[in-house]
């Protein structure tokens, strides 16, 4: 199988990720619950992971790194802390349902910036106007459908100028591009552990620039006499037993990223995507959503065929050994912005562990599938 669905989950991980998880299951108990060796080993693993993440994302203190179950969990904490019913919230037109659904569930007055794909100028112009009177702003760092790298630093400058707290969904960019929490000055940055950070599913991270209200309450192993959650991080947001095997795997994933460099990994993935695009150029009827400008698109490519249904093409690719995702990718708002809501797209997302040959082979299989399905 050629795995091209890294925007959903990175399937191939560094070997040390598997080894660390195996070791954690065998030897680690729960952090903050005891002082015996296996509990302290778990505590050290969690703390080392916080430190690595703090270094990677330029967070001044490791206690501002909060472990969550996934990016959706992290986004829910952030959104529910800043937004109440009726609040005006400005979002990019490329948000995932992990942002949109919590906002709608809260009854927020959601204003989406509908700007043309890869057009930073139009996007910034609209943010500038729409942010006036907003209670919060949310932007994805990179679209999970089109790979569009949103100008989040420029948006953060605007937000600071207008006094609007910003939440960044870094689900696609974390581990594949530069992300500087201090420079960004966001209220929160949310990300999963299982995509670009190369950790396992069931891990997520919230970088906190403020002290949020907890989404869940429960045991933390601290201030146990109080019936309220502690007023300090990360305990305030980490009720219940930690996913220590997951965190142990995530630690090794993050170490891999730091050894190899997030930006270098992102460029390697982008090079693979460019190779793929060059190899499918001659397939008739295929529309790719692609820009040559590497600063505007990461290694996520959507395409559609003029006469073949996206899901049928996706299924054919899957049956022939190319794992991709078709449809709306849980981001109908992004499709609405670009005009692909009815057709959906077939999404190819690239991993640093793919070879050039894998990519050429995937392009060849796409060609075969298209030829077969259009006749």
């Amino acid at each position: 199988m050629i795995y091209l669905d890294c925007a959903a989950t990175s399937l191939q991980k560094p070997k040390r990720v598997y080894q660390a998880m195996h070791q954690a299951v065998k030897t680690m108990a729960s952090p903050g619950r005891g002082a015996y060796v296996s509990a302290m080993r778990a505590a050290e693993t969690a703390y080392l992971c916080r430190m690595e993440l703090a270094e990677l994302f330029h967070v001044s203190e490791p206690d501002h790194i909060v472990f969550t179950f996934n990016a959706t969990h992290a986004l829910n904490i952030a959104i529910r802390d800043l937004v109440s019913s009726g609040d005006k919230v400005v979002v990019s037109g490329y948000e995932h349902n992990s942002v949109m659904r919590p906002l709608y569930q809260l009854g927020a007055d959601v204003r989406a910036v509908r700007s043309a794909l890869f057009d930073d100028g139009e996007l910034m112009e609209q943010y500038d106007t729409m942010l006036n009177g907003a209670k919060a702003a949310v932007c994805t760092a990179m679209s999970n459908v089109f790979g569009y790298i949103i100008p989040m630093y420029e948006i953060s400058v605007l937000c600071r100028k207008k006094g609007v707290p910003l939440i960044v969904d870094a689900s696609q960019l974390a581990g594949a591009g530069a992300l500087d929490f201090e420079k960004l000055g966001a209220a929160y940055i949310a990300m999963p552990g299982h995509k670009g950070l190369l950790g396992p599913q069931g891990t997520g991270v919230l970088l906190c620039g403020k002290m949020p209200e907890p989404l869940m309450s429960g045991g933390t192993g601290s201030e146990s006499k109080s019936m309220m959650m502690p007023d300090f991080l990360p305990d305030r947001l980490e009720a219940g037993t930690h996913n220590i095997p997951g965190i142990a795997g995530l630690l090794e994933g993050v170490r891999y990223i730091r050894r190899n460099g997030a930006e270098k990994i992102g460029l390697r993935e982008r090079k693979l995507m460019d190779l793929f695009v060059n190899n499918i150029a001659e397939i008739e009827g295929v529309e790719t959503f692609y820009t040559l400008d590497k600063s505007k698109q990461g290694a996520v490519l959507s395409l559609r065929h003029e006469s073949i249904d996206s899901q049928i093409l996706t299924e054919a690719l899957g049956n022939t050994g190319v794992a991709v995702r078709g449809g709306l990718h849980c981001a109908p708002s992004a499709h609405e912005t670009v005009g692909t809501l009815d057709s959906g797209t077939v999404r190819f997302s690239f991993s640093p562990f793919l070879s050039d040959d894998d990519v050429r082979r995937a392009a060849q299989i796409l060609k075969i599938c298209v030829n077969k399905l259009k006749t």
Binding site: P62, G221, E223, S224, S226, P230, L233
Partner: protein
Amino acid sequence: MEYHLIMCRSLTYAQRALYTLERGGVNVSLVKAPQAVSRTGCSYGVRVSSKRLQTSLALLKAKKVPFGKVYRYLSGGELEEVEL
């Protein structure tokens, strides 16, 4: 050898203290604080040699690592609060 206990509000704060002091050249161990001095329930702290107490406190203050009360270990294992 005499020891002091520097209390921290959480495990993560105690870990920050541990790493800060280790990097500053202080031998230190992370401990779960005895119930008698865990005013709010469960607490952690770091145990340092009494000779290095002032250095340790200075390091923690310099690195802005939050800490709480400080206790001296008595011979029977009991703790006596130290006025700073």
